[in-house]
């Protein structure tokens, strides 16, 4: 059974001006659809990557997965339990301890006034669990020293702080870790250390990752399955080899073509045209049609359904196997 099952997930934010301005300027309420009808499943002990540019809704999905936001429509089921709607408190509580999150900025996600030991054991201590020697053991597992437990976050570099965040995420022995841009704030050599650590921990503890990132090289290296998002919609989903070798959706093709390559010396590509449209007034039909080279009449009118082509799923009227 899938560990995470996301069905028809949508999230709408009210971005209206204050009431008085709306009355004076005779403006209706404005809504921003950050996530729109997204479906996917994550198998246990795999890494599922969500990629997309800014405004594609990838972080919003991540926050709904861990329960920091409630869905407007649809649901997120983790081990068969819908966190937002489940009434049985004991069940919800049990699932919650199975989910952890790692954030992008290791400077903002550690309390500067707490010692590393207290930060790491907090998820366990908050539930009244036993914490003797826990921080020390976890610090060794993430490649830091036992005596670091008594230090404060400011004594560490960015990479080391991200290791502390990982240790904290591991403390409650979770099954699922949602990683929101875990290495975007880190330098390349530090990024490789953190990615290697994440791979090792996944094998050792049987973890499942949902990896949210904009960096295609990281995705290609880490993911077992990739979902590509555009303007809050899932446009293509597939295994990395298939997706990178034979991208089916025109947006995925554009994204891969635009990504700079280490072997692309003096490469001259026609850069992609246009920009991501305004999510408050998304284009009708397929959201990508104003920038799409293949767009036809149907693309301007009907929103494409997710279709299965081979092992990938694509939301495009024009895509062919």
């Amino acid at each position: 059974m899938a560990l995470v099952s996301v069905k028809n997930l949508s999230r709408v934010f009210d971005v209206s001006k204050p009431w008085l301005n709306r009355v004076i300027e005779r403006e209706p309420k404005a809504f921003l659809t950050a996530v729109s009808e997204v479906d996917f499943e994550v198998e246990p002990q795999t890494t599922y990557a969500l990629v997309g540019e800014s405004g594609s809704g990838k972080s919003t999905i991540g926050r709904m997965l861990v329960g920091l936001l409630n869905p407007s429509e649809g649901n997120v089921e983790i081990e068969g339990v819908d966190l937002a709607n489940e009434k049985d408190a004991a069940k919800v509580d049990a699932i919650r301890s199975d989910i952890q999150m790692i954030f992008q900025d290791p400077y903002a996600s550690l309390n500067p006034r707490w010692r590393v030991r207290d930060i790491i054991v907090e998820p366990v201590a908050a539930r009244g669990g036993k914490t003797d020697g826990l921080a020390e053991r976890l610090l060794e597992q993430v490649g830091l020293s036992v005596k670091d437990a008594g230090k404060f976050p400011h004594e560490f570099s960015g990479g080391q702080r991200q290791r502390i965040c990982i240790a904290r995420a591991l403390a409650s022995e979770p099954r699922l870790i949602v990683c929101d841009e875990p290495t975007s704030a880190l330098d390349v050599s530090v990024q490789s250390q953190v990615l290697n650590l994440m791979s090792d921990l996944k094998d050792n503890f049987g973890l499942t990752y949902v990896l949210i990132t904009h960096d295609l090289t990281v995705v290609q290296h880490m993911a077992d399955r990739i979902g590509v998002l555009y303007l809050g919609r899932l446009v293509e989903e597939g295994a990395p080899d298939e997706l990178f070798e034979r991208p089916k959706h025109p947006y995925t093709q554009m994204l891969l073509e635009a990504a700079p390559r280490m072997d692309g010396f003096g490469r001259e590509v026609a850069p992609p045209e246009g920009e991501i449209p305004d999510p408050i007034n998304p284009p009708p039909g397929c959201a990508f049609h104003p920038r799409c080279p293949l767009a036809g009449d149907i693309c301007r009118q009907e929103r494409p359904e997710m279709r299965r082509i081979g092992t990938t799923r694509v939301a495009c009227h024009m895509a062919e196997g």
Partner: protein, 324 residues
């Protein structure tokens, strides 16, 4: 060879602090020719932006140039005083920063910002400057430029704002543009647009470009030559293809190997042990020696030979069979 546009000779920057003198840039030497894009790469704290700020005279005190020379078009500029430097900035050297929102004045229409820059530096009339402002915006690919000159910066998206900044940097026709992480705040597809734009404009005008970034992919695609910096020093300098495919310095090699690549599959990434030294604790000898797999006694005692021309600053550079 023609006279280089920018020539940096043995440049050092020092910051005196309570805990001693820090050297964020230490004995760096490189040239940039007209029409050439020199990529400067390195991790955070390697001194790549500091070197760029030294050239344009924007070091914030107490940081100052402590040794070396900076030559622009055959004139020495590191000892220029406030006014003379201000005339140079914008006129001879254009600057593109990482964050396009903070480099534009939010209270002025972008047309006015362009006109102001041109009137300051070029001997032209206001109406001529206004005409040129529209042309400049058209050149950087802003649709409906004639109307958009009257817009404020907040009315543009991030990519469009960066285009405006590039138009601003180029409108006084400088001979050198310093682009400090110009695409780091942008999405992949917009990044590709901005890099293509920079490359095209510089080729057409023969502007020299110093492209500072941490993204090896961007360097590979845009730069002609690349300088790799480590702990304030130049680790390696050479044509971009040689440095990326056949790096001679162990640090460059480690950096390349730790970048995830399609061809490497899912195997473990290469790790460089440890981290870049803090500026108050740069080791004796070669700055990279505590992390280097090829370290020998000599590396701990004598600083590595300085880079001049195309070479690696290393006592024991990696040998490649296909060295070109």
């Amino acid at each position: 060879m023609a006279e280089p546009v920018l020539s940096i000779r043995n440049l050092s920057v020092e910051i005196p602090t309570r805990h001693g003198i820090l050297k964020p840039v230490d004995g760096v030497t490189y040239d940039i020719a007209a029409g050439e894009i020199l990529g400067i790469v390195g991790e955070s704290g390697a001194g790549k932006s500091m070197a760029g700020n030294a050239v344009i005279g924007l070091l914030s005190p107490p940081a100052h140039v402590s040794a070396g020379e900076i030559w622009l078009n055959g004139e020495r500029i590191d000892n220029l005083k406030g006014d003379a430097m201000r005339r140079l900035r914008g006129k001879e050297i254009g600057m593109v920063f990482q964050d396009p929102l903070t480099s534009l004045n939010p209270l002025l229409r972008i047309g006015d910002q362009l006109v102001e820059t041109m009137l300051t530096h070029l001997p032209i009339s206001k109406s001529e400057a206004e005409k040129r402002a529209v042309a400049a915006l058209e050149e950087v690919g802003i649709p409906g430029a004639a109307k958009r000159v009257n817009s404020y910066p907040h009315e543009f998206s991030g990519g469009m704002r960066q285009r405006v900044v590039i138009a601003l940097a180029l409108c006084a026709e400088p001979s050198l543009v310093i682009a400090d992480e110009p695409t780091t705040a942008l999405d992949v597809s917009v990044q590709a647009q901005i890099i293509a734009l920079l490359k095209r404009l510089c080729r057409e005008r023969g502007t020299a470009v110093m492209l500072i970034t941490h993204d090896m992919g961007v360097i590979a695609e845009a730069a002609d030559r690349v300088a790799v910096m480590y702990a304030g020093r130049l680790a390696e300098l050479g044509p971009v293809r040689d440095v990326i495919t056949a790096p001679e310095h162990p640090y460059t090699h480690g950096l390349m190997a730790s970048t995830p690549l399609a061809s490497r599959g899912k195997s473990r990434l290469h790790q460089i042990p440890g981290a870049m030294p803090r500026l108050d604790a740069v080791p004796d000898g070669c700055a990279f020696n505590p992390r280097c797999p090829r370290v020998a006694d000599r590396c701990r005692q004598a600083p590595a030979p300085t880079v001049d021309g195309n070479a690696a600053a290393c006592w024991f550079p990696l040998q490649h069979e296909e060295a070109s």
